[in-house]
């Protein structure tokens, strides 16, 4: 405890009277109650819309329009998944099975190349010494402030030159070069916090650089790498403008584009179908978040606090 040191220097405090103790306790209890009330109130305000929409996917249009309560009046409607079925089948020749598969064809390779490139680059930044490192590192920090929108047009022209329009390459390739600098930064910060003892021991034992990286550093980096993988997974699932620019064939649409299309095609006729398929579209991200929310919050926190 830090207070023990200062205690000696300062005159001893008089013991609080029992009335004072009671008052403090009461104040703490009121504060606690107030906090729970605020937290629950705000939580309800934030999450109720999601519950309402979940319920709406089981309601008729007529009922969606009129009810504030999230459950349908007739609870047996909860067994009727026809909105989910219709939403999944879509009005196009493809079902959402195709679109989900497409999304995963983008997400999985992208996560893998992100992990590899970020680890290599972060390893270099956090452990090695060479001229120009500081400069490169500051470029990396600088690009976090560089709005991607400035780069869209030339990047598009470049990928067009390379004949990669209407393929997934423009969405995956940049990540193979560690330019999602937020992630590299996150791994660098994490690695800097790990003592070098184990690596030094392994060097003495004659490990080469790649063995060292694979057998010692990567296992130590696991929590940071999990954060990176999860963030990249969800951000890529959410990505809309990327596919919107580069993918033009419906057959290759990822979920985000397909949702936009479903919305445009069916307009506001079948509310429940659109709501249902939107909920389904959120499921992968929701699942990942609930399974591993610790890693998200740690990742988000470390990006802002350290360094």
């Amino acid at each position: 405890m830090s207070s023990s040191k200062t205690m000696g220097a300062r005159p001893r405090r008089r013991l609080p009277s029992s009335a004072e103790v009671l008052r403090t306790q009461r104040r703490e209890r009121i504060s606690l109650a107030l906090r729970y009330i605020i937290l629950s109130g705000v939580g309800l305000l934030m999450l109720y819309p999601l519950f309402w929409l979940l319920g709406a996917s089981f309601k008729s249009n007529q009922e969606i329009f009129t009810t504030i309560w999230f459950l349908p009046k007739d609870l047996t409607q909860l067994l009727d998944f026809s909105a989910y079925y219709n939403g999944w089948m879509t009005r196009t020749e493809f079902t959402f099975a195709t679109y989900f598969l497409n999304s995963f064809l983008i997400v999985v390779p992208r996560v893998i190349v992100t992990l590899i490139s970020c680890t290599l680059v972060a390893y270099s930044f956090a452990r090695f010494e060479y001229p120009g490192k500081k400069f490169l590192f500051s470029i990396m920090i600088g690009t976090m402030l560089l709005p991607p929108i400035v780069l869209r047009v030339p990047q598009y022209l470049m990928f067009k030159e390379l004949g990669m329009i209407d393929t997934y390459w423009p969405l995956i390739l940049p990540s193979a070069f560690a330019i999602d600098t937020f992630f590299t930064f996150l791994v660098v910060q994490f690695l800097r916090g790990i003592p070098r003892d184990m690596e030094e021991a392994a060097i003495i034992d004659g490990c080469n650089a790649l063995q060292l990286l694979w057998h010692i550093v990567v296992p130590l980096l696991k929590p940071a790498l999990i954060s990176v993988a999860l963030f990249q997974f969800i951000w890529t699932m959410n990505d809309f403008i990327g596919p919107l620019i580069y993918i033009s064939t419906v057959e290759k649409y990822p979920v985000s584009l397909a949702l936009k299309m479903s919305m445009d095609v069916s307009g506001e006729v079948d509310w429940a179908n659109i709501i249902a398929i939107s909920i389904v579209a959120l499921l992968p991200s929701l699942t990942v978040f609930f399974l591993a929310q610790r890693y998200f919050i740690e990742g988000a926190t470390s990006s802002g606090i350290k360094g």
Binding site: L32, L53, V121, I139, P174, W271, A281, F296
Partner: protein
């Protein structure tokens, strides 16, 4: 081994290549293209400052989208930071279930950028959607959220404020890092809760306020998904954000030169605001000089 410059360069090589190919080169190219007329077919023709002149003197849509974007950021950035700081302050207590609340509040940030949420958001603000149903029960006439020039932008503001989670977890970590002894000392001196917040908490978390502010500004100026999906820039361009304008010019009308000029103006705007913030930071951001934080 860590003295080996060769290995150091080898491992950082992907980044050097990537930053050149995907960032620095496009960045320079974008600047060059902003002085050209480039309808994608044929080669770009150099037209000097014409794009910028047209923008400033002859393009109402540019001014409209600029106004929309700036006023949006002016509302959303403080709103998000205030809510985030308030909730973080409430959470910073010996609470049971703190992890649950933290996760619940962070969830919208994770999902908020997705198209699915935009679709759902649109339903909430329909003429007969949940928001108006609630207003109706408390006796307020329904508001044409999506159809009115005046209200449409507020649906986007609401969606963005809803996503305060990222800023909140950073604030919370910073609040937890403020040494307890400072509060104890303030308490002995008889400082009220508000005085403690004003004189102990706020100064110590200014670095984090600064960080959050910069990140949120960069973010808000690029808002695209929600206005594109929910209001489609309308009605009457009332949610026509710069990002949508740039997208339309580039990928709908294929005016690559003009789109580049627009994006450089947006970039310049973000950089100037960030620059002013960095400059002003020496007057209000307080660095205590100690690197490690108390756990």
């Amino acid at each position: 081994m860590y003295e080996s410059k060769r290995l150091g360069y080898l491992f950082v090589l992907p980044f050097i290549l990537g930053i050149l190919a995907f960032n620095l080169f496009p960045f320079a190219a974008s600047f060059a293209l902003s002085f050209t007329d480039y309808p994608l077919i044929g080669a770009p023709t150099y037209i000097g400052l014409e794009n910028y002149e047209k923008m400033v003197f002859d393009d109402d849509l540019f001014w409209k989208s600029l106004t929309v974007t700036v006023s949006f950021a002016v509302i959303v950035v403080p709103a998000r930071l205030a809510v985030a700081l308030f909730i973080a302050q409430v959470l910073n207590f010996k609470l049971r279930g703190i992890n649950f609340f933290r996760a619940a509040y962070y969830l919208p940030t994770i999902l908020g950028g997705s198209i699915a949420i935009s679709v759902l958001w649109k339903f909430l603000f329909q003429q007969k959607g949940l928001v108006n149903i609630i207003l109706d029960t408390v006796g307020i006439d329904p508001i044409p959220w999506l159809a009115s020039e005046r209200y449409a932008v507020w649906t986007i503001v609401a969606l963005n404020t809803w996503q305060f989670g990222a800023a909140m977890v950073i604030f919370l970590a910073a609040l937890q890092g403020v040494p307890k002894s400072l509060y104890e000392a303030a308490e002995i001196d008889g400082a009220s809760f508000w005085q403690q917040f004003r004189n102990v908490t706020l100064p110590l978390i200014t670095p984090v306020i600064f960080f959050n502010m910069v990140m949120q500004i960069v973010n808000c100026f690029q808002e695209f998904n929600a206005p594109y999906m929910i209001t489609e820039g309308g009605p009457l361009y009332s949610t026509y954000f710069m990002a949508i304008y740039i997208y339309d010019e580039a990928f709908k009308y294929f005016n690559m030169g003009y789109a580049s000029a627009l994006s450089w103006v947006l970039f310049f705007l973000i950089v100037s605001i960030a620059g002013v913030l960095f400059w002003s930071s020496k007057y209000w951001v307080f660095y205590s000089g100690e690197k490690e934080r108390a756990r």
